[in-house]
Structure formats: structure tokens, C-alpha cells
């Protein structure tokens, strides 16, 4: 290639959607230019389907998400599809785009996404719902699905929030429920066929798509309500539309392609490392954990394929860090061999290994010692609750002995910082259970002073308590549980803090807790119904976006929106739900039976522990998938 001349240098070799003066006036202009190494460029005239894949949050967050990279890679393997990426413009750029009428664009082609065939959005957390509306708005698309026309893209939602998509029912044409790798070929083939045969209309296409397993068209269902506000019926409006939508699952993970040549952002992503997904699902069955339920059954990738992926990732990215991804890495059967392999391959290439979600025991501490600087890192435990009674209720199979044993080993190994994660506001929680949290931390600190002789101590130990407030999620055994008013959450947090300050080792303890008001809103949306669409729209119109960012979250704006729509948020969170109540998400068949969840809810209230999937099948219903841990 020839060296560019001065004049060639100052011209852009790619079309950019944002003007030079805009790019130079916003923070991190590289968020908006595309052009990253690994970004897929195609000739738009050679493809039949343009797909915009959106993570409705800022670029650095969205670029850290593995799911999008997987689908981006898979879709683009089809020569007839060009899948491009879109993220929420940060507030500075969004403001200029809105003011100047610049339509939201895809990063690769820099072309407006409103001209695309599909706009797919991943819904990872409830607090992104106003960003969904902002994406549609900046794209210059009507916000309501019913107002979008034949030429507008079909808007599809996916991700964990689709396990109750109802609050977003008004805004999406389609949801896909399950693992995105399944059935997308059928879906694209259907679209192409209808387009080429000239049988396409939005309505005809949605009818046909609803026949593909996992696809849900909210507009094709009708809800009626009892006088008390609960659901009386939820039925399809048409005879060709299925009454339940089945979650789609990949049965053999090894058979599904993996993105070993991911897009490499210029702007540092929140997760700036290679990601090796080792398994899906979890054997543990913690009763609060939605991921632990909706991704069942636990399925592992083979050691051989993981070794192959790791080497390919190293070659293709040049990254200096690799991370294992799963819900509970310690449960991966062949973890020791995998880690030995990585230490060997990464060590000689100066690549760091990051090991999140490891259970703390002799093995993991030994591994961490090999791959981390003990002095600079902390050891993390997630007991989730302070008392054994509470841990039994949530089925967190971590005992005090495990924690003390692990902490003692860590202290002996040279660590003196420990992080502890807990939840407040769990069902059946009493003040005694709340104060059990700082008492546990206090005992861990005491253990440090008992275990480590004075001359070997590196100052005080540092035990950091962090709490979030429990939000009951659909398809978990705790989906029947009530929540509490904001003042009650704060009272519990303050009780925890005051108790901590009175303890012997309080100087070694510190405490942080999450925002309580955002928790309330998250709770409303998690178990909300389609009547909430109006509230989201009203709040967005009043200026709500980036609600997941505490600096932009404004609870008063939301409370005003509830009031304006005549909807009482307490209905969704403060009420005890009856065992025969029809939930807004009951039309989804996740494979886990409601009978199982109810049994677990009873066991929770009785404090009875359920063994993990490997010890004994608890009959959740997922064995019907005939995959992973269910067929061992």
C-alpha cells in the first residue's frame, strides 16, 4: 500500500455518520466510527438481509457482551446477511443527534438503521428499558410496534429480560426466547422466501415467524384481568398462534460455532479481555438466581474444544488477558486440566488469566496464586446471606465452615483483602439475619488475626461487605415473594452498618450497599405486565434514559410517570402472590415446570435444602432437553 499523501490523509476513507465537528466535541469519538479490527464489512448490494444488532447501553458495556459477539459471528457467516452493531450513543452524542436530526446508524456501514430489515436488541437488565425507547427514537422509528410500517425494520428482543417480556410488549414486534443460536437460519430463510416470492407483509411474516419455535409476537395475544388487577386470561388472538412459547436450547454446545475472531474495540471495553465460555447453566439451584434456572440444563464444552478456542482467540486477538465465562467455573468438570493448559500457553506469551466465579478452596487459591499478584487482589465470597437459616432458604450451599476454611487458607496464602457479597430483603429475613452479616465479617477478620502471626501481617485485614437488595425474578422459586418499601430496605442497610460499627474488628470492616430506589423499579419491571408499557413510555418522554447509571436515574420522574398512568407500582412488588395466580410470563415454557418451582418455594419457606443437579436430579423438568448434566 502507498503512503497516503497529505490530502489523502485528511480525507476519511470511510463514510462517517457523524460530522467531524460533532466527533471532536463528544467524549470518546471512537465509539461512533466503527472500523475496529475484526468488524465485518460487506457490500450492501450483495446481501439480502441487513440486521442491526443492538445492545441498548453505551459502547464499552455493549462491546463487553459475549452474546452479541456470538450472534454477530453466526449471522455474518451467512453470505446473505450483513449483521452490524449499534449501541446507545452516550448522552452527549444523543443530544446532538436529536437536535440535528441525525438518524441512529450502524457502526459498520454508518447507515441509518431505520433502513434495515431487522433491529435486534438484547435485553440484559430491566434498567435499560428507556434506552430501548431511545434507540428507536434516535433511529427515527415510531416507538410503538403498532405504529411502525411495512418499510420499518422488524424489532426483535432477546436476552434474559425476555423471560418476562410483557412490560416491553408494546414496543417490540417479536421476541426470541431461548439461546439465539437456535433457529435463526429458519427465521432468515423464511424472511428471504417471503421477500423473493413477494408474499411478504409485516403481518404475514409475523404470523409465519410465530410458528418457528421460540418466537413470540406479543401483538397476537390478548390479556384480560380480574378486578383485583391480576391476570384472568392470556390467550392467542388467532388459531394459528401457539398458546405457549417454548424456550429454545442448544443441546450440544461443542457443535455450535464460537467467535474466536471477535471485534476488537479501540475504546477500552469494560471487559477488555478474551472470553472463553466454558459451560452454560448451573447445577446449583440457588432459589433467587434466574440465570441458574433459565439456562438449565448445565452443559459443558469439551476440554479439547476449549483448548482449540483458546489458541484461536490468542492468535486472532493479541489480547493480554483471558477470562473464563460461566455461572460457576468451579463446577466445570475438567477445570484443573483446562487451567494447567492455560497457565502453560498464556505464561509463555505474557497473557494474564482472570478467573471469576471460582469457589474459594485449596485448589482455587493455589491457581490464583499462580496467576495473580496476591498483594493486589482480593478474594471474593458470595455467601449471599449472613445466617445459615437464610442460606438454606435460598439454597446457597455454602456453609460457615466453607467460608472460614477458605478465608483461613487465603490468609495463610498471603491475601488480606476479602470481599463478601450479600442480599438484603430476602423472604423470611429477620433483623437477626441482617445482623448476622456483619457478625460473619467480624469473625472472618478475627480469623485473620488468629491465623496470621503479627510479624507476617501486611497491615490490617480488609473485609469488604457489599449488599444488594433482593429482586424476585420470573422462573425462580422466589417468584412468589414480595418486596419491601424503600424505607424498609434502607432501615436494614442502616441496621447492618450500625451493627458493624459496634463490633470488635470494625476497623477492618467496610460496607457498601446498592441504591434502593432503582431496586424498586427493577422489581416492578421484572414481574410486570404489559400495562407497564405506558409507564415506560411516559418516563422516557419525561427524559428518562440510562437508568442503569445512577447519575442519570431519577426516581421522582418514574413515580410521576406511574401516577400519570394511574398505575400503582406496589401492585407488582408489595403483594403476596397466590399459588394459583397466572403470571404474565406463564405463557413461556422454559422447560422448568411451575410445579417444581412451587415445590421449591415451599422448601424455601421450610428451610429445606435441595441438592445440586449432579448429586441428585430434583425433577425440574429440564431433563426433557436430554442434554448436559441431565444425561450424564
Amino acid at each position: 500500500m502507498m503512503e497516503p499523501s497529505f490530502l489523502e490523509s485528511i480525507c476519511n476513507t470511510r463514510k462517517l455518520a457523524l460530522r467531524d465537528d460533532i466527533l471532536l466535541s463528544v467524549e470518546k469519538a471512537a465509539r461512533y466510527i466503527g472500523n475496529e479490527f475484526g468488524a465485518v464489512m460487506k457490500d450492501k448490494n450483495e446481501v439480502a438481509i441487513r440486521y442491526a444488532m443492538c445492545f441498548p447501553d453505551v459502547y464499552e458495556i455493549g462491546m463487553s457482551h459475549l452474546g452479541i459477539q456470538i450472534l454477530y459471528d453466526m449471522f455474518n457467516r451467512r453470505p446473505d446477511v450483513w449483521c452490524e452493531r449499534v449501541y446507545s450513543p452516550w448522552t452527549d452524542a444523543a443530544e446532538v443527534m436529536k437536535r440535528e436530526g441525525t438518524p441512529l446508524f450502524a457502526l459498520e456501514s454508518q447507515e441509518p438503521i431505520r433502513t434495515f430489515d431487522f433491529l435486534g436488541m438484547t435485553l440484559q437488565y430491566e434498567m435499560c428499558y428507556t434506552n430501548v425507547l431511545q434507540v428507536l427514537d434516535l433511529a427515527q422509528l415510531p416507538l410503538l410496534a403498532k405504529d411502525r410500517g411495512e418499510d420499518d425494520p422488524i424489532v426483535i428482543g432477546g436476552g434474559p429480560c425476555t423471560y418476562n417480556p410483557e412490560p416491553l410488549a408494546d414496543f417490540f414486534d417479536l421476541f426470541f426466547i431461548g439461546e439465539g443460536e437456535a433457529h435463526y437460519d429458519e427465521f432468515f430463510d423464511l424472511y428471504r422466501k417471503m421477500r423473493t416470492e413477494n408474499t411478504y407483509s409485516k403481518d404475514a411474516f409475523l404470523h409465519a415467524a410465530a410458528q418457528i419455535p421460540g418466537f413470540y409476537v406479543p401483538a397476537f395475544y390478548e390479556t384480560t384481568y380480574h378486578a383485583d388487577g391480576t391476570i384472568a386470561s392470556f390467550v392467542p388472538k388467532f388459531s394459528d398462534i401457539p398458546a405457549t412459547v417454548k424456550r429454545q436450547v442448544i443441546t450440544v454446545l461443542d457443535a455450535s460455532p464460537y467467535p474466536t475472531k471477535p471485534v476488537l474495540p479501540f475504546v477500552q471495553a469494560t471487559q477488555d479481555r478474551m472470553v472463553l465460555e466454558i459451560m452454560r447453566g448451573c447445577i446449583r439451584g440457588c432459589r433467587f438466581c434466574q440465570a441458574g434456572m433459565i439456562y438449565r440444563p448445565n452443559r459443558e464444552k469439551s476440554l479439547d474444544i476449549l483448548k482449540k478456542y483458546a489458541l484461536e482467540l490468542i492468535e486472532a486477538t493479541g489480547h493480554h488477558e483471558i477470562s473464563l465465562s460461566s455461572l460457576s467455573s468451579s463446577d466445570y468438570t475438567r477445570l484443573p486440566e483446562l487451567i494447567d493448559f492455560l497457565i502453560d500457553e498464556c505464561g509463555k506469551r505474557h497473557i494474564n488469566i482472570s478467573l471469576p466465579s471460582l469457589r474459594i478452596d485449596a485448589f482455587s487459591l493455589d491457581v490464583m496464586k499462580k496467576v495473580q499478584d496476591v498483594k493486589k487482589t482480593s478474594i471474593t465470597f458470595a455467601p449471599e446471606a449472613g445466617s445459615q437459616k437464610m442460606r438454606n432458604i435460598i439454597n446457597k450451599g455454602l456453609t460457615e465452615e466453607d467460608i472460614f476454611g477458605g478465608a483461613a487458607l487465603a490468609f495463610e496464602g498471603g491475601w488480606n483483602k476479602i470481599k463478601l457479597y450479600f442480599m438484603l430483603g430476602l423472604p423470611e429475613e429477620t433483623d437477626e439475619d441482617v445482623t448476622a452479616i456483619p457478625r460473619l465479617a467480624n469473625e472472618i477478620a478475627a480469623l485473620y488475626y488468629d491465623t496470621v502471626p503479627k510479624e507476617k501481617r501486611n497491615g490490617r485485614c480488609n473485609i469488604n461487605i457489599s449488599t444488594s437488595f433482593f429482586v424476585p425474578k420470573p422462573f425462580t422459586p422466589l417468584q412468589w415473594a414480595r418486596m419491601y418499601p424503600q424505607e424498609e430496605y434502607l432501615r436494614r442497610a442502616h441496621l447492618l452498618k450500625e451493627t458493624m460499627q459496634g463490633l470488635l474488628n470494625h476497623k477492618s470492616l467496610s460496607y457498601q450497599y446498592h441504591q434502593a430506589d432503582a431496586t424498586i423499579l427493577e422489581g416492578v419491571f421484572a414481574r410486570g405486565d404489559r400495562r407497564l408499557g405506558r409507564v415506560i413510555l411516559t418516563a422516557y418522554k419525561a427524559g428518562a434514559t440510562f437508568d442503569a447509571w445512577s447519575e442519570y436515574f431519577d426516581m421522582n420522574r418514574w413515580m410521576d410517570a406511574f401516577k400519570e398512568c394511574g398505575i400503582d407500582p406496589d401492585f407488582y412488588i408489595m403483594r403476596d402472590r397466590g399459588e394459583d395466580e397466572i403470571f404474565p410470563w406463564d405463557f413461556i415454557d422454559t422447560g422448568i415446570t411451575k410445579r417444581f418451582l412451587l415445590r421449591e418455594w415451599q422448601q424455601a419457606k421450610e428451610g429445606v435444602v435441595t441438592p445440586n443437579c449432579r448429586s441428585r436430579c430434583s425433577g425440574c423438568g429440564c431433563s426433557a432437553f436430554e442434554s448436559g448434566v441431565c444425561v450424564r
Binding site: 490523509s9 476513507t13 463514510k15 493479541g318
Partner: protein, 267 residues
């Protein structure tokens, strides 16, 4: 073994900041399998250093970074291997071995040459298929400046720079104000002859028809680091012109060190 890599950063890559560029190169060098040496200690980092960071928005044909390798590398092969890892707007121009006694780029750099121009809208670009075309007409044309002809600028440079004994300015730092004389730190400042050096038939080449281009050679490095926008700001204000924000375009032409005869040569 030490090597100096010269590269160009142009087009859309002007929007990528220095820290992001460093991360980009670290990965690209790994992908190209360059056997980088690492620092010692618990957090080893690859031995890569840059001559002088380039501000966001500035293009360049003469950027430099030094690398240290564990074993000798073939310059030509490395050049090709690295270019295979580049993106639109990045080009590796040369890879050269450094002698043992050569200072590293950051310490050696003494001067940098720049072209400064007034941005004209619309910008020109290649589309994906490689065809040149003119971008949409949004963005205001800086019509104000068109009435200044190059002769007026040439004349003012004589007053402001060539014939001036000193150019005192007040430089704001975080803590204090400092009076400095720019005159000895500006080694050259003139208006380029755009009719001969640059494209005059914009329509044929698709390249912009630039009205006026300033050339300046400025002291650069750790002691007296003079930025072209600083010089332009004082020069233009001496003519009573305040350009709009983001209106000045800057292109770094090259960076220089002093050789044994104290003459400026490319890094």
C-alpha cells in the same frame, strides 16, 4: 534488539485517542507475532514507547514507536506482518533496527513538522466499494476565511514571525502562568504553495481543494513542546481572526531528531 516503527495515522483513525492507539498496537504486535520484550516485575508490560502522542482529530504521516524484542526480527517481514493487522487509516511505513547507542524516540524527538489548514465541508471520502464521492452537504462551509487570500497570510507571517525579534505569549499551566518566547521554538513557518504542492483539480482526484495550507516546524519533546494550535491561535488573533471551534485542521508531517551535525533529520 530495538526497532523503530514509522507509521501513518490518517482518515477516520484521527478520532482514536493515544491510549486507545497504544492498546491497539500492543494487540497488533502480538497478532503479528513480534517477539516483544517485557519489563520485569509482577506486572510486566511490553516494551513499546511512542515518540510523542498525537491529539484526537490530528492526522499524521510521520508517527514513531520504538519496540524492544527478545530476538532479532526481519524488518521487511515485520512490516508486512504488521500491515496485515492494521485497519483503515493505519499504515506501517517502515521498520528499522536501532543502534545500541540510539536514544529512544521519546527522548530523541526535537521537532515536528505540521500542515495546518482550514477545514472545508463537505469532506471527501472513499465509500466501501472504493469509489470516491462527496459527502452530504451538511456542515457549514467556513466562508469567512475564504476572503483571506494566501498573500495576506504570507504578509502577516512576515510581521508575526519572520521579522519579529520575539513572540511573547502567556502559557497557562495548571498551577501558574508562564511567559514564553515562541520565536526560537518555531523553526519554520510559512504558507505552502498550494498550486504546486497540492492537487489543484479537486474534481478530478476527488481530493479536497484546500485554500491555504500553513507549514510549521516546531520544537517538540519533553522540554519545549510547542503545539501547532498554540501558534495558530496567536497568529490568527494577530490578524483579528478567531476560528470556530474544530475549524483548524492539523496534519503532522514528520518528527525529527538532531544528528551529529546538530541538523534535524527524520526520527
Amino acid at each position: 534488539m530495538r526497532y523503530r516503527i514509522r507509521f501513518a495515522k490518517y482518515g477516520v483513525m484521527r478520532y482514536v485517542g493515544h491510549l486507545d492507539l497504544m492498546r491497539f498496537f500492543q494487540k497488533a504486535l502480538n497478532r503479528a507475532k513480534v517477539p516483544l520484550s517485557y519489563s520485569k516485575g509482577y506486572h510486566p508490560h511490553p516494551l513499546i514507547s511512542f515518540a510523542a502522542p498525537l491529539s484526537v482529530g490530528v492526522t499524521s504521516g510521520g508517527e514513531y514507536m520504538d519496540i524492544v524484542t527478545e530476538e532479532p526480527i526481519d524488518a521487511k517481514n515485520t512490516l508486512d506482518a504488521l500491515n496485515a493487522q492494521m485497519v483503515d487509516g493505519m499504515l506501517i511505513v517502515s521498520v528499522k533496527e536501532l543502534s545500541d547507542k540510539a536514544k529512544n524516540a521519546m527522548a530523541a524527538v526535537e521537532a515536528a513538522a505540521y500542515y495546518v489548514y482550514f477545514k472545508e465541508y463537505p469532506f471527501v471520502r472513499n465509500d466501501i466499494s472504493g469509489n470516491m464521492s462527496i459527502l452530504s452537504e451538511d456542515g457549514s462551509s467556513p466562508a469567512e476565511l475564504k476572503k483571506y487570500d494566501t498573500d495576506a497570510f504570507r504578509e502577516q507571517i512576515r510581521t508575526f514571525y519572520t521579522n519579529a525579534d520575539s513572540i511573547y505569549i502567556t502559557k497557562q499551566t495548571k498551577k501558574s502562568e508562564r511567559k514564553i518566547d515562541l520565536k526560537p521554538l518555531i523553526y519554520d513557518f510559512h504558507v505552502e504553495d498550494t498550486t504546486s504542492s497540492f492537487s489543484e483539480n479537486a474534481e478530478q482526484t476527488g481530493l479536497p481543494d484546500i485554500n491555504v495550507v500553513f507549514y510549521m516546524l516546531l520544537s517538540t519533546g519533553s522540554t519545549d513542546n510547542i503545539k501547532p494550535e498554540l501558534v495558530m491561535e496567536h497568529f490568527l488573533s494577530s490578524m483579528g481572526i478567531t476560528p470556530d471551534a474544530y475549524q483548524l485542521g492539523i496534519h503532522r508531517v514528520d518528527m525529527y531528531r538532531r544528528d551529529e551535525k546538530n541538523e534535524l533529520v527524520s526520527l
